[in-house]
Symmetry: C2
Subunit: 205 residues, 2 copies
């Protein structure tokens, strides 16, 4: 069974034993002849894939009454992966979603590390610092790097910690964020778990 | 007594009874002949002003042992304006500083409204929303606009409210933020109060 999570820059494949990525600009989806169960956040790629019979769009099998209309399909799959907890998906954006007893309770969208670095830099060259993921959050900062890191990372940490739930960390920056969320469960394949759960519900496997 | 707070885009003047702004690109500081007590975050403007005898740099009269080296002089003046509380200066960046019994206890730097709007937009066109300053913070969001507003405004609100101190709101976006910080004290001239306090300490008035 081949799964694929398609973002704006990569096709991320998972085939039971291994996961690998292909560049979205270079990869030709018709080069794959076996069945692929996919999710895709890019509407033009999605249109292209709808013409290929062996590419099966899992978003069509989601019970959307559990979520909201404009919610990203990647967020939904992360939510489908767990029973209770908070999912922090740290990619170009950081999505934070709460799931209680299998129900989506709401969530929010924060800027990703790269975007936020650019954002501070665009405000002023004096605000261009790399974030300190090992910041001491018990003290109010008294230097520029920590003042910026606290603004970006500290506020996110405090919000997420305030839920008192198990934290599931995924996405390209999960490794970095595991230094901040020390007791979190890091799982870069979390979305694929959600995809498998959807397939089970829809009797696709 | 003429005071001036010089940012990257404007000269903001205050002369006891009124305040007015001049465009930093167009304004010629040597057109003023009387004494001007100023602070300036722009190093090239600062160099130019150092050649004019009637422009007096108030940053030279600050006891810097109370702050930290790279801290913006505008933040310092806002801190000098109050005895106890939290100052939220909402401009191109948002600075949040805690003052207890006249002592600076630390603070952090968050992105301003305009920069953050750009930031979300740059991540994805799907994240381009105006922020909802009247967001209900007691509920986790279940729509895109509120998910983004909560990420940006909600986390800031919760952090600032957690101090349990009086909130002083200043800066160009203070009006908008007063919808979020309902019981805050909005004072667009707060920095000038700090400047006057520095002048008193230094026997300049």
């Amino acid at each position: 069974m081949l799964l694929c999570d398609i973002g704006n820059t990569t096709y991320h494949f998972f085939d039971e034993n291994s996961s690998y990525k292909e560049d979205a600009k270079l990869f030709n989806p018709s080069s794959i002849k076996r069945e692929v169960f996919y999710i895709c956040v890019n509407s033009s790629v999605k249109e292209r894939l709808s013409l290929l019979d062996n590419w099966i769009d899992l978003s069509l099998h989601v019970d959307m009454s559990r979520y909201y209309k404009t919610m990203g399909i990647d967020r939904i799959m992360a939510c489908e992966a767990i029973e209770s907890g908070v999912v922090v998906d740290a990619g170009s954006a950081i999505t934070v979603d709460i799931i209680k007893n299998g129900n989506f309770e709401g969530g929010f969208i924060y800027a990703g590390v790269k975007a936020m670095n650019e954002c501070y830099k665009n405000i002023s060259a004096q605000l261009e610092y790399s974030f300190n993921f090992e910041l001491d959050l018990d003290k109010m900062p008294k230097n520029s790097r920590d003042a910026i890191s606290y603004g970006y990372l500290g506020l996110l940490y405090k919000e997420v910690a305030s839920y008192g739930m198990k934290i599931y960390l995924t996405g390209g920056d999960a490794g970095q964020f595991s230094k901040l969320f020390l007791n979190s469960d890091v799982d870069e394949l979390l979305l694929f778990k959600g995809m498998k759960n959807i397939m089970k519900k829809a009797n696709l496997c």
